[in-house]
């Protein structure tokens, strides 16, 4: 008796102009510059990864303590430490060329001009497949408020980067630290974003009661990990219904089911972040698990799940964007 031939689920997803082998992308700030994970899995097992945020010049980052574990998650205030865009191009990127995975360069700046300068350096760099804009960096020209909390500033910096890097697909990563994330999403769209990624970390703090001092030297940090998953999932749901752009969803994803819930809520692909600290093989485990899940649930193509959330008393959500 020969075993029944089982169809291999199709995990490929098209996200705006970008095609991924599967929907699992390792998130910026949790994956170094990619090669750090070579001991744990083959980069070609996942859809792609996002580099540590790149600035024009190298940055040392904040004084320690920089992290603090919290219930089901952690706070970080690394301070955007990175090697700088030139060292990335000279020292990190060559090792990534020839890897069959999508390499996304995360970009930030303290001024609009810095965003533009970094994006311009990346435009045309062989081996960089897209830019992801981190809009959570404080704007030093506007009193230190994050670009991403102001829709007009968001639109302005996105448009400027769009012009500076016309050849690269542009992903705009939204901060959740805003009253209505859909407004920021619209602003990014108006500025010319191809794709939205959401969410970045939630601002938070932790206190050492005995010393009555903040635990982080920076006082405030970004909360990530499974603790934020319901918050992030809701924001993906909201943006999916309000703004016709493809979404890469993230926030506390640690399991296959977490990832697929984000897809049902409207994410065309997902990013996996903090869990990489706990388990460096997590992105590959989740990608493999997706194939198993689709097989078990007789889903021929994982992209068929995107935006299929059924609301009470209504049918499945219509797909506003492909």
């Amino acid at each position: 008796m020969s075993p029944k031939r089982r169809a291999v689920p199709d995990l490929a997803v098209q996200v705006g102009p970008l095609r991924f082998r599967n929907p699992v992308i390792a998130a910026s700030g949790t994956f170094g510059y990619g090669t750090e994970f070579d001991p744990y899995f083959d980069l070609e097992e996942i859809g792609g990864f996002v580099t540590k945020g790149l600035s024009l010049l190298p940055r040392r980052g904040n004084a320690p303590p920089r992290t603090c574990e919290t219930a089901c998650g952690m706070l970080n205030a690394i301070g955007l430490a990175n090697v700088g865009v030139e060292a990335f191009l000279d020292e990190k990127l060559p090792a990534l060329r020839g890897r069959d995975t999508v390499v996304i360069a995360n970009v930030f700046g303290e001024t609009r001009d810095e965003y533009v300068a970094v994006a311009r350096r990346l435009n045309g760099a062989r081996g960089v497949h897209a830019i992801e804009l981190n809009l959570s960096c404080p704007n030093t020209e506007k009193g230190g408020i994050a670009f991403g909390v102001s829709p007009p500033l968001t639109c302005e910096v996105v448009a400027a980067v769009r012009r500076a890097a016309p050849d690269l697909p542009l992903i705009v990563k939204l901060t959740p630290n805003i009253t209505d994330i859909a407004e920021a999403a619209r602003a990014a769209k108006d500025g010319g974003a191809d794709i939205l990624s959401l969410v970045n970390t939630f601002l938070g703090m932790a206190i050492d009661l005995d010393r009555r001092r903040p635990i982080l030297d920076n006082v405030v940090g970004g909360l990530s990990g499974p603790a934020i998953k319901p918050l992030a999932l809701y924001m993906v749901h909201r943006v999916f219904r309000e703004v016709p752009l493809p979404i890469i969803g993230m926030g506390g994803i640690a399991s296959v089911e977490d990832a697929l819930e984000f897809m049902v809520a409207g994410s065309a692909a997902v990013q996996v972040g903090t869990i990489n600290f706990v388990e460096p093989g997590a992105p590959a485990r989740i990608a493999r698990g997706m194939a198993a899940w689709c097989r078990a649930h007789k889903v021929p193509a994982v992209r068929d799940l995107v935006g299929t959330l059924t609301l009470p008393g209504r049918g499945p959500a219509a797909t506003p964007a492909g």
Partner: protein
């Protein structure tokens, strides 16, 4: 190259009410491990607490290099959950990680350098493995062991079994000299002649004091640092230590990958 494995608990014994000796079956880590390295151990299967705990590789017992011993103190939620794990269970373990100690060159008999290991509290956990490596090089180190009280002076059996002399200091005077471990280190550094090589592991204030004494005395001193360490593999950049650097500000190094062993004077604690 580090590996992430499912490590079966072979034995898990209480050394006293709040200290445990954990023996893991992890040949991939054990075979590659060097003294001074560590592993990231997941203490349970749940998500709260989320992060793994860094643990010094205490010993690689036996000739087959299949097992790893870890000694820890129950201090918080993570170690409390770890203490509940029974023999037969398996825990994800990632290692070996970090740079490890630099060992003195193997000397001829009689020409071996004088080596002093300085442990504070649970910092003792890093030294059995180092002591064995030193003994194989013909070096017989001395151990200075300081703690709050006699109850914290755990796991000295591996040293006694190898004839390594131990001197104690306790803050409450319940064993050895009353005072800090620096109290018993000072005379060794003041003596004339070549300065001993120092290896130190313990709480940060102890490392700062030992490091300062060593630099003043001109004794080469390796410090094993502890830090809040989310990932252990150099990507989260959370565990950094400041290094005295150029005037524009401190440079930071990752304790997990550029350390955990640093020379005294190289880092600002």
């Amino acid at each position: 190259m580090p590996v992430d494995v499912s490590a079966r608990i072979v034995a898990h014994e209480a050394l006293n009410p709040d200290h445990r000796l954990l023996t893991l079956e992890a040949p991939g880590i054990a075979r590659a491990a060097k003294p001074g390295q560590f592993l990231m151990l997941q203490v349970h299967t749940g998500r709260d607490p989320l992060l793994r705990r860094p643990m010094s590789i205490c010993r690689v017992p036996g000739a087959g290099r299949r097992r790893i011993e870890v000694v820890y103190k129950i201090v918080g939620e993570g170690t409390r959950l770890l203490a509940q794990q029974r023999a037969g269970a398996a825990l994800p373990a990632l290692g070996p990680l970090g740079n490890g100690f630099r060992l003195p060159p193997a000397g001829r008999r009689g020409a071996a350098p004088r080596v002093v290991m300085i442990a504070g509290g649970i910092g003792i956990a890093i030294f059995p493995f180092l002591a064995e490596a030193l003994r194989r090089r013909g070096v017989r180190p001395t151990l200075l062991f300081g703690a709050r009280g006699a109850a914290d002076l755990v796991y000295t059996a591996p040293f006694r079994a190898r004839g390594i002399p131990i001197r104690y200091a306790t803050e409450d005077g319940s064993r050895g000299e009353r005072g800090y471990v620096t109290t018993i280190l000072a005379p060794l550094l003041e003596a004339d002649g070549p300065k001993p090589l120092l290896y130190a592991c313990g709480p940060t204030p102890m490392l700062r004091a030992v490091g300062d004494m060593a630099v003043r005395a001109g004794a080469p001193c390796q410090l094993a640092l502890e830090s809040q360490m989310p990932c252990g593999i150099g990507v989260c950049l959370g565990c950094v230590v400041a290094c005295p650097g150029d005037p524009s500000g401190p440079a930071y190094r990752r304790v997990c990958t550029e350390g955990p062993i640093f020379m005294a004077g190289e880092v600002r604690l």
